[in-house]
């Protein structure tokens, strides 16, 4: 579904990604872990198409399409979803307008009919119920005045409505208390399916107790340096990241 090969990217002339390789198949959940500054959020943003980053090498293929050729909105319409680490507050645009515009843009691209107001409301109410989110969220401006937990839940709600094929969660767990974390994880688990892939970017292993990954990757200095099963996450939790760093350094000097 997603194939990243030798991806290099820089921001303001500073190289952040130094050759990332990653393959995600439908139905799989991949966790990407790493210390701050290792490049994991950059990877998420480059795949989603944020233009603050310059791609300087490598390729990203998604269901046979060259993803790097597409605008961010085209990527979204192709079924890619990024749950933001810092969801943006947009005063004056209410959640309902926003979601309806987004959903109809995606549906149009898929050749599906636009939903009318009634159908749309029915769909979002159903999703709100699954995610245990209060309906008042619909009439509030996008993320304005939301608590950290509400913002992250709103991301998961948007994901549920837009029904993506590949979802990338960029540190969705950061700053969440354990209850909010559970809600977010429940939301993600409800959406797991054989047709959908997930990339979960996180700093901590804790989230992975709730969203159990099929694969865990460790990023260090702009590369994926270790990959394994979910046991790798436990090992990282127990031993920290330093041993990975030491091993990589040893391998490099050998």
């Amino acid at each position: 579904m997603l194939e990243i090969k030798g991806l290099k990217a820089e921001v303001d002339g500073k190289q952040i990604l130094k050759g990332v390789d990653l393959v995600v198949n439908a139905g799989e959940v991949h966790a990407i872990m790493g210390k701050n500054g290792s490049g994991k959020s950059t990877l998420a943003n480059v795949v989603a198409g944020r233009d603050a980053y310059d791609v300087t090498g490598g390729s990203v293929t998604y269901n046979g399409i060259d993803l790097l050729e597409l605008d961010p909105e085209e990527r979204a319409r192709e079924g890619l979803f990024l749950a933001f680490q810092y969801p943006v507050e947009i005063p004056g645009v209410n959640n309902t307008y926003f979601l309806k515009a987004a959903l109809n843009a995606v549906r149009k691209h898929r050749g599906e009919d636009q939903l009318d107001a009634m159908e749309f409301l029915q769909l979002v109410r159903e999703k709100l119920k699954i995610l245990h989110i209060d309906q008042s969220l619909l009439n509030r401006p996008v993320n304005e005045g939301f608590s950290g937990g509400e913002k992250k839940r709103n991301e998961i709600f948007q994901m549920a409505v837009l029904d993506p094929k590949l979802a990338i969660l960029d540190e969705t767990d950061s700053g969440l208390d354990i209850d909010a974390l559970r809600t977010v994880a429940d939301g993600v688990n409800a959406l797991r399916s054989p047709e959908r892939g997930f990339v979960v970017v996180t700093h901590y292993q804790r989230l992975l107790n709730y969203i159990v990954p099929d694969f865990v990757h460790v990023m260090l200095d702009g590369r994926i340096v270790r990959s394994g099963g979910k046991e790798l996450a436990y090992e990282l939790e127990e031993r920290g990241y330093d041993w990975v760093e030491a091993e990589v350094a040893a391998a490099a000097s050998a």
């Binding site: 989603a48 198409g49 944020r50 233009d51 603050a52 605008d71 961010p72 909105e73 990527r75 979204a76 319409r77 990024l82 933001f84 969801p87 943006v88 947009i90 005063p91 004056g92 645009v93 307008y97 926003f98 309806k100 515009a101 987004a102 959903l103 109809n104 843009a105 995606v106 691209h109 636009q114 401006p141 948007q158 837009l162």
Partner: protein, 443 residues
């Protein structure tokens, strides 16, 4: 000097259609006021960019255009033409002026409370209305602005409403000025007067629209008088054609404990200038002056406001938002005067401008003059572009770049639009702001 005066006289005659004896039919008080106004204009002529108040806006195009003063002939306006601009679906009173001339067929004045007078100002003058005589030209002074002098000299028609003590007009009153110019440039001078006596309430909407896209010049003056505890909600919706010139003054005279709010919308005109001047002449007054303007292509939209706090314990609130695109240019000048006696004044002014293109321009200038020492006055001006983070957020959800821009621009404007209490006006503006980028499906 004589040459200059001759040239001013020519302009005066050209723009008002006045000849020496043209005012003979008016009552004596108006004849002399018009003569004074004509003399004043002849004396001072048009403002130039050397005048501080006109520094950013050149009116050369107006001076150089030969305008006709008789209305375009044979153009028919139907109720259907006006529907998109009317107060559809709510009870209201409407006075329609087509090219400056009252149209009884297109107007509808329903039942009004006892003692309320609602008519054209010409009708009231001809009927010898003492209220008109007592207020007309008393607040919008011919010395203050050459265009007010020009308007006064011209003696054009417009709306008049008088609300006697303790009366409430529940339905909004709509003064709708329609221009039909297409080929021949045409000038007219709308003149309105709103007098709200003690403890009254009314809502008045003034709309200026162009139907046929031609060049014309509407030069309006509106005077509003709010007596003690009167409450007037006023809206100015300027949607002139894109080749029109619009210059307008709104002059408000407020007495003790009265409440006035204005929302001034400026979307039309190749050159549009609105001056709003409010004098807070009693204690405990609440004055709100908000505006939303948009300049695109090569439009110039100029807003000048002046709030004069003359007495203690008054509040004024002002929020102006501008959207500037293409080669458009905006001007905002917001003056707040707090006189020595005006202790405990609370005045707040905000001007926010959104620049959507590299060639868009704004000149924004807050002007605070404070002579009292126990007051709260704040002002702030921001100029910016759409947030890249917000744009990316919307695009990452599948919304196209243009649509995302339109949505964020709409959000910027909706802050003002949502404060409008007359629902059809709000709907009209929402529609204009959204339909341009095919976003109306979102509502």
């Amino acid at each position: 000097m004589t040459q200059l005066k001759d040239s001013n006289t020519n302009h005066l005659r050209g723009l008002t259609g006045l000849t020496a004896d043209a005012v003979a039919g008016d009552p004596q008080w108006l004849q002399s006021l018009r003569a004074d106004a004509a003399a004043r204009f002849t004396e001072v002529g048009f403002p130039t960019r050397r005048d501080e108040d006109w520094r950013y806006t050149s009116i050369v195009q107006i001076i150089e255009t030969p305008f006709a003063t008789t209305a375009p002939a044979g153009v028919e306006v139907t109720a259907g033409d006006l529907a998109p601009y009317g107060l559809t679906d709510i009870a209201h009173h409407q006075l329609v002026f087509v090219d400056g001339v009252y149209s009884p067929e297109l107007s509808s004045i329903g039942d009004v409370p006892k003692g309320v007078r609602l008519s054209t100002i010409r009708t009231a003058i001809e009927g010898g209305d003492a209220i008109v005589e007592a207020n007309f030209g008393r607040f919008a002074k011919i010395e203050a602005n050459p265009f007010v002098a020009l308007n006064t000299a011209a003696g054009g028609d417009g709306g008049f409403v008088y609300i006697p003590r303790n009366q409430v007009i529940e339905e909004p009153i709509h003064f709708l000025f329609v221009s039909t110019s297409s080929d021949v440039p045409f000038v007219f001078h709308p003149r309105n007067l709103i007098v709200a006596e003690e403890n009254t309430q009314a809502t008045v909407v003034e709309s200026y629209i162009g139907l046929n896209g031609g060049v014309y010049f509407s030069n309006s003056v509106t005077e509003v008088v709010t007596a003690q505890s009167a409450n007037v909600d006023h809206y100015k919706v300027q949607r002139e054609s894109e080749s029109a010139y619009h210059i307008g003054t709104l002059q408000i005279e407020m007495a003790k404990s009265s409440v006035f709010s204005n929302h001034s919308i400026a979307f039309g005109g190749s050159l549009a200038r609105t001056d709003i001047n409010a004098r807070l002449g009693g204690e405990g007054i609440e004055c709100t002056i908000n505006g939303l303007y948009r300049a695109k292509d090569r439009q110039i939209i100029d807003n000048h406001t002046a709030i004069d706090h003359a007495m203690p314990h008054c509040n004024s609130h002002e929020v102006y938002k501008g959207i500037i695109d293409g080669h458009g240019r905006g001007v905002f000048n917001g003056k707040i005067m707090v006189r020595e006696d005006a202790q405990k004044t609370d005045a707040k002014q905000t001007n926010k401008t959104l620049l959507l293109s590299p060639d868009a321009q704004i000149n924004t200038k807050p002007e605070l003059e404070i002579y009292a020492d126990d007051v709260k006055c704040t002002h702030g001006a921001t100029v910016g572009q759409l947030s890249e983070d917000a744009l990316f957020y919307l695009r990452a959800r599948g919304i196209g770049r243009d649509e995302a821009q339109a949505l964020l621009t709409y959000a910027f404007a909706s802050d003002i639009v949502s404060r409008i209490k007359v629902e059809p006006i709000r709907a009209q503006l929402d529609y204009v702001l959204l339909s341009e980028r095919a976003l109306e499906g979102i509502l």
